[in-house]
């Protein structure tokens, strides 16, 4: 019943968006090529699916996303687990982290392109930067705030070093880290598009730039729509994975 209700909510909400779009289209004085109707965007979507460009661009983007996001999460979690155990060392690293964190990942873009050229790497690097800091900071703070009883139990049963980290500390703080991992997913997806708009010749972000260059606003809007849908799908995929893991913890 609840699921049915939420489906109803989704349909009404999207229908309202399309309606507003259609009204704006009918009222606007722009040419059709610059401001297309929802139906025109839909036809453009079909066209892209038929020609195969959409699928291949999605594939390229997903590959970059997966490479950047998963390597960022792995690196941030491992580094966070180490630094969380060494608060004195982190005091020296934290100022640098705080300095780098507020810099928009796109600011690095020209520099990354200069170093690596156009291609997969700039987009992957951007996603890495976008996902890395939230996960690192949430891991360090989770390890620092770990319930001391876990450390006492590990000490008592003589579980030390890396065994303590993987057997006790990581699983104990995982529910807190999961939050950061989840936040990073959304941020990473946002910056993938930015990265591909500047530093790539393929992918969904490039497809937007390419559509603009060809004055195909219908393709442009259809691509934006696809980016939104994939974002939702990734989010719900992670949510269900998170739920499954937290269930193992007996938390939900």
């Amino acid at each position: 019943m609840k699921k049915l209700l939420s489906i109803k909510n989704i349909i009404i909400s999207i229908a309202a968006l399309l309606l507003v779009w259609e009204i704006l289209f009918l009222c606007s004085s722009y040419s059709k090529a610059l401001f297309p109707s929802p139906l025109m965007a839909f036809y453009a979507l079909i066209e892209m699916i038929r020609s195969g460009t959409l699928l291949s661009n999605i594939g390229t983007s997903m590959y970059r996303f997966a490479a950047g996001y998963f390597s960022a999460v792995a690196a941030a979690v491992i580094l966070g687990l180490i630094l969380g155990r060494l608060p004195k060392v982190f005091q020296y690293i934290n100022p640098v982290v705080q300095l780098l964190r507020p810099i928009s990942p796109t600011a690095w873009m020209p520099f990354v392109v200069l170093l690596f050229g156009i291609g997969d790497i700039p987009a992957i690097v951007i996603i890495f930067i976008a996902a890395f800091f939230p996960v690192l900071l949430s891991t360090v703070s989770a390890v620092g705030n770990i319930d001391p009883i876990y450390l006492k139990v590990a000490k008592n049963f003589e579980i030390s070093g890396s065994a303590a980290t993987w057997k006790v500390i990581f699983p104990a703080v995982f529910p807190q880290i999961a939050n950061g991992i989840h936040l990073a997913l959304g941020t990473a997806w946002i910056f993938l598009v930015a990265g591909e708009m500047v530093g790539a010749q393929s992918g969904l972000g490039y497809q937007i730039i390419d559509a603009r260059n060809n004055i195909r606003a219908d393709i442009l809007l259809a691509t934006i729509f696809v980016i939104g849908v994939i974002g939702i799908l990734l989010d719900s995929l992670l949510k269900s994975a998170e739920k499954r893991i937290l269930k193992l913890w007996g938390l939900k």
Binding site: I149, V153, N156, F157, I159
Partner: protein, 258 residues
């Protein structure tokens, strides 16, 4: 002959709000192998601090703790502590929790299962092996923790108000079980509590402690056999004797008022 556990002139000082605070002041204590000792006293008397010092979790400001001729500096797998809030790993099910210590001892997987099962049966949790801690009651969780401690066959078991968070009926049941297990497994047990009846029910000797500064008021030998009856006259007699010890503290207050 020197005793199994020797605490000599133990002092523990804390600085709290710029004021020095004596959690333990010159405490000396001898415990024999196989004894069931209860550290009894009001909060702030240093009973948990003393337990943590003997268990190796906490370091003394002055004085020493020796176990079996060795100075205590770190916790070891031979001296297991049972905590009030159980200390189970919520992502592991019951049997995997109980196996934890056996993994350190590098015991093969199959053998681990057999040993863990033996102690799960001993604490009365047969059939709940696959449950996760969140699916168990507080009393059951503490039983898991006790089973986990026993699997590594420790010489000493420290218990820090282990039944403090449980309801009265569950607590009594667990007291009976821990008494049975202690006789059966012949462990040295040091048990912290603020419940006089619990101490009289369990202990061979009760170490009565007082606060400000934390110190030993008196050590009471409990002249009761293995089968203890909470309403028998000799049980009530020992309990009254301990109550009297605490009454001395109120008399101190009365003097203060005069």
């Amino acid at each position: 002959m020197t005793s199994y556990i020797q605490v000599r002139k133990a002092c523990k000082k804390f600085i709290h709000n710029g004021k020095e605070f004596n959690a333990l002041d010159n405490v000396s204590l001898d415990i024999n192998k196989g004894e069931f000792i209860c550290l009894l006293g009001p909060s702030g008397c240093g009973k948990s601090t003393l337990l943590n010092a003997i268990a190796g979790f906490d370091h003394l400001t002055e004085g020493s703790v020796m176990i079996d001729g060795q100075e205590v500096s770190e916790p070891t797998i031979n001296h297991i502590t049972i905590f009030q809030n159980y200390g189970l790993l919520p992502w592991r099910n019951v049997i995997r929790n109980v196996e934890l210590g056996l993994e350190t001892k590098k015991i093969p997987k199959e053998e681990r299962k057999i040993i863990a099962q033996k102690y799960i049966d001993l604490v009365g949790l047969t059939g709940l092996e696959k449950r996760h801690p969140a699916q168990l009651s507080g009393g059951q969780q503490q039983r898991v923790s006790i089973a986990r401690g026993l699997t590594v066959d420790p010489d000493i078991i420290f218990m820090d108000e282990p039944f403090g968070a449980l309801d009265a009926i569950t607590r009594m049941k667990l007291q009976e079980d821990i008494l049975r297990i202690s006789r059966q497994e012949k462990k040295t047990i040091i048990f912290v509590t603020h419940d006089i009846e619990e101490a009289v029910f369990l202990a061979d000797r009760i170490v009565v402690m007082m606060a400000n500064p934390g110190r030993i008021k008196s050590i009471v030998k409990v002249p009761l056999g293995h089968h203890r009856d909470r309403i028998a006259s000799d049980f009530l007699y020992v309990r009254d004797k301990i109550l009297e010890l605490f009454n001395i503290k109120t008399e101190e207050y009365i003097e203060y008022y005069i």
